[in-house]
């Protein structure tokens, strides 16, 4: 068991409110080295907010975020690609932001594209010309291009169909097992969590802390479909930790943030 020094990410007693409405309270989570933790919880419990705090795009009102990793990559709930840039330039963006020379940025973007099985022919296309799955691949490649040692995924595959979802999960599992990538994988799908995480943490349905965590048998990548199915079934049926997750499928209409980058409506 490592000491606190080795933990790549420690979230301690986080509290966060959106204009006075508290959505996170006493949320604490400690990740071990090389550990991919899935964070599950029903819609609206504050998972995205937590991901943004972990990624540093939101600052908590209270609590601490301790990072011991070199560099993180983030895959957001929607792909968040630059609509005017090609897939290649989108993947290269984190490098461009760093001031890496364009030649090298392009080259590294193409390498990252290979890791997510993007066709070279698609790299010259704009996001509007790509399918949903390809867009999400671009978003993953963009996160991998900086060679991160920590990854934050926020329900990256929520909008994809089952087959595509499976392929994407395999890409994540490969990165985790082959490169020892630690990270936080947010999802509301328990079987997805069980497939690709070392450990599953469950969030309180109203964002009042992390209820606890469970460790599925085996390691990501070598759990069989049968094992996964049995684990999910028995957890949902018997483990009180997952009691609130059941209601997830009838997701109460989530507060989708209506945002049109072209129109007059302000973005949130």
């Amino acid at each position: 068991m490592g000491t606190l020094i080795d933990t790549p990410l420690t979230l301690a007693a986080l509290r966060f409110s959106y204009s006075g409405r508290m959505v996170l309270r006493d949320v604490s989570l400690v990740l071990r080295p090389g550990e991919m933790v899935a964070l599950v919880g029903p819609s609206g419990c504050g998972k995205t907010t937590l991901a943004h705090i972990a990624a540093g795009t939101l600052a908590p009102d209270r609590g601490r975020v301790l990072r011991r990793y070199r560099r993180h990559g983030v895959v957001f709930q929607e792909p968040r690609l630059l609509p005017w840039a090609t897939a290649r330039d989108n993947i290269a963006l984190p490098l461009t932001l760093d001031g890496v020379r364009p030649e090298e940025a392009r080259h590294r973007a193409e390498e990252a594209a290979v890791r997510v099985a993007l066709e070279p022919a698609d790299l010259g296309k704009h996001p509007a010309e790509l399918s949903g799955g390809m867009r999400q691949r671009v978003a993953i490649a963009r996160a991998l291009v900086v060679d991160p040692d920590f990854m934050i995924f926020d329900e990256p595959f929520g909008a994809l169909d089952v087959v595509l979802r499976r392929r994407m999960q395999d890409i994540v599992i490969r990165e985790v097992t082959e490169r020892g990538l630690a990270g936080l994988f947010i999802t509301h799908d328990l079987s997805e969590a069980a497939r690709l995480a070392h450990r599953i943490a469950v969030m309180h349905p109203k964002g009042q802390g992390v209820l606890g965590s469970a460790v599925p048998p085996g390691r990501p990548g070598d759990r069989t479909e049968r094992q996964l199915f049995d684990y999910v079934q028995s957890s949902l049926a018997g483990d009180p930790l997952f009691a609130d997750l059941q209601s997830v499928d009838e997701r109460a209409a989530p507060a989708v943030c209506g945002c049109d980058p072209i129109g007059v409506q302000r973005c949130c």
């Binding site: 983030v74 957001f76 005017w84 984190p94 932001l97 704009h126 072209i262 973005c267």
Partner: protein, 275 residues
């Protein structure tokens, strides 16, 4: 295919593509051309019914235009107005653009400047023409200043709106990848601001011409406005209409040479995935 056959085949291909290209050009420019011809027809009818002292025919106007452009002085007059427009609008773009972007990012600056932008937007152009004539006398400076002062608030508002309506989620994304404020501005925000500013800029360009000509007319500075003033004193309707036609043409040329290509580059991606 042998290398010698290749040009032939290419030629044939081009031959087959020609009708297609013509059809495309026809559907692209046809309606606009038809509208223009209709207008010319109405003009001709008007000229016939009111007589050449009230409304000369399009042909007479074209002849007057040809006369003006036949002499180097004619080109110099058009050039003087165009250069003043370019100078005034450049000044406005530099000042209005910089202030607008700054105000978009700094709410305090926005609150400080917005009332001024509103006041300046509401000021009638003729008021500035009179004021600058008193301040600067009948000079280049007066015309350029009037153009700049009329278009600066337009550019300012466009730039500030561009910053405010940008997609914040992209900004957050870039911050999540560790982008500094400057890098996020350069790599993510600038493109969105420019996209917002391009149509505003086209409006500002048209406004610049109107203001420049009015200012030249009142101050009697050499330029299209000055030439119009002369045509008025001589009651020369042929010349007056010719100068109007020239000023509209100059605006169209400038817009197609400078603004359109920029807009096409900025907005190319919007057409993607739509059709």
């Amino acid at each position: 295919m042998s290398p010698r056959a290749a040009p032939l085949a290419r030629l044939r291909e081009r031959g087959e593509a020609l009708p297609l290209a013509l059809a495309e050009a026809g559907s692209r420019y046809g309606p606009g051309l038809a509208g223009l011809l209709l207008g010319l027809g109405l003009w001709q009818l008007g000229a016939l019914s009111y007589g050449p002292f009230i409304l000369p025919t399009p042909f007479a106007t074209a002849k007057a235009v040809a006369g003006i452009l036949g002499a180097p002085e004619g080109w110099a007059i058009v050039g003087a107005t165009v250069l003043r427009v370019i100078a005034g609008l450049s000044l406005a773009t530099a000042i209005g653009g910089a202030l607008g972007i700054a105000a978009g990012y700094l709410p305090l600056l926005m609150r400080l400047l917005r009332p001024w932008a509103t006041i300046l937007l509401g000021m009638p152009a003729i008021a500035w023409v009179i004021l600058t004539m008193i301040w600067f006398g009948p000079t280049h400076g007066a015309v350029i200043f009037t153009v700049a002062v009329m278009t600066t608030p337009v550019i300012f508002t466009g730039a500030a709106e561009g910053v405010l309506t940008r997609d914040r989620r992209l900004d957050d994304m870039a911050r999540g990848f560790g982008g500094s404020a400057w890098a996020r501005f350069r790599r993510v925000a600038v493109f969105q601001i420019a996209g917002h500013l391009a149509p505003v800029f086209a409006i500002a360009l048209a406004l610049s011409f109107k203001v420049a000509i009015m200012s030249e007319l009142v101050t009697n500075v050499t330029g299209i406005g000055g030439a119009l003033a002369l045509a008025r004193t001589h009651l020369d309707i042929d010349q007056a209409l010719a100068w109007v036609a020239l000023s509209v043409t100059a605006l169209l040329v400038l817009e197609h040479a400078a603004v359109r290509p920029l807009r096409r580059r900025l907005e190319r991606w919007r057409a993607l995935g739509r059709g």
